[in-house]
């Protein structure tokens, strides 16, 4: 009886979240894929009420019979989209590298801090993560504006005599991504560095290894799992970032998340925005799978 109940409970515990994710996470992707294959001409006319909207998509789904790859051809043919994808990957890659360079010394300093201060430092890193993303990005507008606080400060110091134009440039996007995603980089790095056995470094030093070489040959390789996890956590969402390029970036910087948003909300072209999403997903499938494998491995190691 107990065994039977236990098995039943197991089924239930697995089935409920499983079904939820199937319906609300996996099924939507299939719909996106379907709609991305439909004719752009069937796209809903702009200003129709919600009810007709719904009907529009229904007939659209019924007519899946005549699949068309026109949207994808359109995407590959139009340099706008190609550039948006390429520059998203480039910007995300550069920002990830900068975030790593900024985050590593912080994580290292935390891991080397006296054990009694570490929980406080950890909380100080997590706290900004709890405050709204939108708010943290917004805060930079006031700092980076031509008449903003950074320019006022630099003018006051006499470092510059003309205000720097930072807001609405790619530089502002880099700053925004590094700032917003820094906790995602620091936390896995810290986890990897804190676990490290210090006697390894001491052994290297005792054997006459200079500090920098000891870091490079012992600490750095041992922190690689943390580096991989941190970089993935920054890179993947940064590629599809919308808020940061929209609020901090200029019109000349294309990023795919923003393109998708505009295609959907401004042009109301659902098939094309679906196709944009599918291609973005295809680009990210490899890093996402890589991330999941490294996570699974870390979990195995913990057991």
């Amino acid at each position: 009886m107990g065994r039977f109940l236990s098995a039943l409970a197991g089924r239930f515990v697995i089935a409920v979240p499983y079904l939820w994710l199937l319906v609300f996470f996996l099924a939507p992707f299939l719909i996106v894929f379907k709609i991305s294959l439909s004719e752009p001409a069937i796209a809903m006319p702009p200003y129709q009420p919600v009810f007709d909207f719904a009907q529009g998509v229904k007939t659209l789904i019924d007519r899946i019979g005549d699949l068309s790859f026109a949207n994808y051809l359109w995407l590959t043919g139009d340099p706008l989209y190609r550039n948006a994808y390429l520059s998203s990957i480039w910007i995300a890659g550069v920002s990830t590298a900068i975030t790593l360079a900024v985050g590593y010394p912080i994580a290292y300093g935390m891991a080397r801090a006296p054990a009694s201060v570490r929980p406080t430092l950890l909380m100080l890193v997590i706290l900004p993560f709890w405050t709204s993303f939108l708010i943290r990005v917004y805060a930079w507008i006031g700092i980076l504006k031509p008449e903003g606080l950074l320019n006022q400060f630099l003018l006051y110091l006499g470092v510059i005599d003309q205000p720097l134009v930072i807001l609405n440039t790619t530089t502002a996007i880099y700053i925004g991504i590094v700032y917003s995603y820094l906790p995602f980089m620091v936390l896995p790095l810290y986890a990897a560095l804190e676990k490290m056995d210090n006697s390894l470094i001491e052994a290297a030093r005792d054997l006459g290894c200079p500090p920098l070489a000891a870091f490079w040959k012992v600490t750095f390789p041992l922190s690689l799992p943390g580096i991989v996890a941190g970089c993935m956590l920054v890179f993947i969402p940064a590629v599809g970032e919308f808020v940061i390029p929209d609020l901090l970036g200029g019109s000349e910087t294309l990023m795919i998340g923003k393109t998708l948003w505009n295609e959907f909300f401004n042009n109301r072209d659902w098939p094309v925005s679906s196709a944009v999403a599918v291609v973005l997903l295809l680009i990210l499938v490899v890093p996402i799978a890589f991330f999941q494998r490294s996570q699974a491995r870390a979990r195995e190691a913990e057991k």
Partner: protein, 270 residues
């Protein structure tokens, strides 16, 4: 190795934390600015907070957001905890790989994709967009965060305790609620809070899945930011930061106490 906490480490920490906190501090400071110009200091004033409370649209949006966040965090905590239990306890079942993939993928999935795909689902299902569609969307992505937080606690939990309860005749539900849950409770609470703040923060997914009458606070803030930076936005941001900071501080005090209590219990047993 406290002795090796060199100057380099201290400098990098100070600079790092300055970078993390300075923008937020400046934002808060300028919410008390007398002047309409956000970046020119003209004396202390709380008038933006006063005008905030008479802003009907903002207040409505805040109320919608609070309800969405509360409901979605609660459901997400239940589902996420179940998912965590399923992943740690049952190492072999059909479709486990797909399941774990679906739990971890939303953590890194760009929000524009999640938002667009959920919207298309709701339209295909003929759901009226509004309060409930936003809530469902928030449940879906935040339950995965809850699952990860709870799972990290579950792996260190001694399963034999629950097995003992089962052997002594407890039903699986009772064994879970009386033995396992009390132990993993801090993680479950942390998961709830994380889900709550994620919902409170979300702009992109809410913009896709929301409908008329269900404008959330981030959507409202975003549309105002697009029109220009005003001290009023600074004020509402400051209030949100304050709420979150108080919540996090209370939570950390509670978990610290529980930790001390747990250690004491363990020592008493040993």
């Amino acid at each position: 190795m406290a002795g090796s906490w060199g100057r380099f480490n201290i400098v990098s920490l100070v600079l790092g934390f300055a970078f993390l906190y300075l923008p937020i501090v400046l934002l808060v400071v300028y919410s008390f600015n007398e002047s309409r110009l956000v970046t020119v200091w003209a004396g202390f004033s709380t008038k933006w907070y006063v005008s905030l409370f008479s802003n009907r649209g903002l207040m409505d949006a805040a109320w919608v957001t609070a309800r969405v966040a509360f409901l979605s965090a609660t459901v997400a905590t239940v589902l996420g905890t179940m998912a965590a239990v399923a992943l740690t306890r049952y190492t072999r079942f059909r479709g486990r790989l797909l399941f774990s993939g679906m739990v971890f993928a939303p953590l890194v999935m760009p929000e524009v994709i999640t938002g667009l795909s959920l919207l298309l689902l709701f339209v295909a299902m003929n759901f009226d967009r509004g309060f409930f569609t936003v809530t469902i969307a928030h449940i879906t992505f935040s339950m995965c965060f809850v699952a990860v937080v709870v799972q990290s606690r579950l792996v260190t939990f001694d399963e034999s305790l629950e097995e003992a309860a089962l052997d002594l005749g407890a039903t699986p539900a009772r064994a879970f609620f009386q033995v396992t849950l009390p132990v993993i409770l801090p993680a479950v609470i942390a998961g709830w809070m994380l889900a709550f703040t994620l919902s409170l923060d979300d702009l992109v997914i809410a913009s896709f899945t929301s409908g008329p009458g269900a404008t959330t606070l981030p959507m409202k803030i975003y549309s105002q930011v697009r029109l220009g930076v005003t001290p009023e936005i600074n004020a509402i941001c400051t209030i949100l930061i304050g709420i979150v900071a108080i919540g996090v501080i209370i939570a950390s005090i509670v978990t610290k106490r529980q930790e001390i209590q747990r250690r004491r219990d363990e020592q008493a047993v040993a």
